[in-house]
């Protein structure tokens, strides 16, 4: 199984390559990708240099162009696809069907991967896109159980890629409007969930309060680990009880399922976190590479503590992979 690692800057791209990535995914400095944060991402020249460096080290470069095209501004997304092809990317990761059609027509030799943002969660959906747009790989949404991943792998006529570690969404990928509701901007159209422009942290005595737009998201007592200021992970009062209404602040960690994923024939394992620092990328990639090497050698190598320290709220979950709810 390939290890697919995130990179938000050229420096972290190099770190990912050095740490043992098989492929590195990144995006341009605009709203064509779902991590459109200040100071993050690549221009065309940086992407060309990164792809060249990757190729020299036997590593693939995947470019996320995975937001939905805005009516009247499609040219920005078309240009991103063209620039990825020119830079020497090995594949683009796309969610918008119109953009998939454009890429298939203009750059037929450039591999097309279906983004998790497309939320293709059953084999009919996936195979339709294989037939219509020649997608070579689908990144499965984090709404599936391990058994469902296996069922898709058996029948999908393309490679499958699954997230194994990192930030976890509220399981409505590509369809979530919570950020848009609070701020007018969403990951789907603008490439930002809970944009920094609308986030505020303030100290209230010994508590740390996080706010998103007009909403108070959370209040963390002293020394309690914090999370991201997203509505889906807000602590609200409902029915007279304060708690996490949608989901707890925690990161995904399904590394205990590596053996099953390998048995199903999953092609690639993905690490979330293009917005994270070089230290996160280097440590997570090394840790998961070590687990994969252990798997190949028939050994159990586990160090959940390292990954928990890097996780949101310093906690991890298996999310829907280990689904215990209806």
């Amino acid at each position: 199984m390939e290890l697919i690692c995130p990179a938000g800057t050229p420096a972290s791209f190099r770190d990912a390559v050095e740490a043992g990535a098989d492929a590195v995914y990144c995006g341009f400095r605009d709203e064509t990708n779902a991590r459109n944060f200040p100071g993050l991402n690549f221009n065309a020249q940086e992407l060309t240099e990164a792809a060249t460096h990757a190729r020299a080290n036997g590593v693939s470069t995947l470019v996320a162009i995975n937001t939905y095209m805005r009516a009247g501004a499609e040219e920005l997304w078309y240009r991103a696809v063209d620039n990825a092809a020119t830079a020497g990317a090995d594949a683009i990761i796309v969610a918008d069907l119109g953009l998939l059609a454009y890429a298939a027509e203009r750059h037929p030799a450039l591999r097309r991967h279906l983004s998790v943002q497309a939320a293709a969660a059953n084999v009919e959906h996936i195979n339709f896109l294989v037939d219509a747009f020649g997608i070579k790989r689908v990144v499965l949404p984090r709404v599936l159980t391990v058994a469902e991943v296996g069922a898709i792998c058996r029948k999908a006529r393309c490679e499958t890629e699954v997230f194994v570690f990192g930030g976890l969404c509220v399981m409505e990928e590509g369809r979530c409007s919570l950020s848009s509701y609070a701020t007018g901007k969403s990951p789907n159209m603008d490439g930002v969930c809970s944009p920094a422009s609308h986030v505020r942290y303030r100290q209230d005595g010994s508590d740390m309060v996080s706010e998103l737009g007009d909403f108070t998201i959370n209040r963390f007592p002293k020394d309690e680990p914090t999370g991201y200021p997203t509505l889906c992970k807000g602590r609200f009062v409902a029915g007279g009880t304060a708690g996490y209404v949608f989901e707890d602040p925690a990161s995904l960690d399904v590394l205990t399922h590596l053996e099953a994923l390998a048995r199903f024939g999953v092609s690639a394992l993905k690490i979330e976190g293009r917005q994270r620092g070089r230290a996160y990328i280097a440590q997570v990639v090394r840790e998961i590479r070590n687990r994969l090497d252990g798997l190949a050698a028939g050994e159990q190598r586990e160090d959940g503590a390292t990954l928990r320290k890097l996780s949101e709220g310093q906690r991890t979950t298996q999310g829907s992979y280990d689904k215990r709810w209806r």
Binding site: G8, T9, P10, A11, S12, F37, P38, G39, L40, P195, A196, S197, V199, R200, Y201, R202, Q203, M208, F220, K222, D223, E224, P225, T226, G227, Q275, R276, G277, R278, A279, Y280, A282, Q283, K309, L310, S311, E312, G313, Q314
Partner: protein, 168 residues
């Protein structure tokens, strides 16, 4: 994550003017060796960043566009667009990309207030510079750059070993 006690005791009585001299020289070297910093900072280069070393009770106020840093004692900063606070060791390690900012924030080792866009731009710009402070600062010592670099590197190794095993 704090400095060793004797280091704190050594640094605390240092005059602010002397600290400012060192801070300004350090900023000058970093800016000279990493001009790409401003490409990622973009419009946020004119923001006023207050970097607070909580364990030393020192506040470094930086406006990147002016290439100036000023130092004051105390941890409250009345006029700043962004306030980033943590122990000196945490802040230096973040600057070098040895710690992940989000993870430190989750662990409450770092607090951020104010303009979050500017804070993110600064973090990402510094991450991409691959700062190596002994090399960057040692280069200012002319013919003595190699021994100065080795000395600074030794100090860093000692401080990091004191700080625990969480480093990249």
């Amino acid at each position: 994550m704090d400095l060793p006690r004797f280091v704190r005791l050594l640094l605390r009585p240092m005059p602010v003017a002397a600290i400012q001299l060192v801070a300004q020289a350090s900023l000058d070297r970093v800016v000279a060796r990493h001009p790409q910093l401003f490409d990622r900072l973009r419009e946020y280069e004119n923001r006023r960043f207050a970097i607070v070393a909580t364990d030393l009770g020192l506040c470094f106020i930086v406006v990147p566009r002016s290439r100036r840093v000023s130092v004051q004692r105390g941890t409250s900063v009345p006029k700043a667009d962004v306030r980033i606070a943590g122990s000196l060791l945490t802040l230096l390690s973040l600057a070098e990309g040895r710690l992940d900012g989000d993870a430190e924030f989750f662990a409450r080792g770092l607090s951020i207030e104010g303009d979050m866009e500017a804070a993110l731009a600064l973090r990402n710009a510094m991450e991409d510079c691959r700062l190596d402070l002994p090399t960057d600062l040692g280069s200012a010592a002319g013919p003595l750059s190699r021994p100065v670099e080795r000395g600074l590197s030794g100090i860093r190794s000692y401080l990091l070993s004191h700080g625990g095993d969480r480093w990249n």
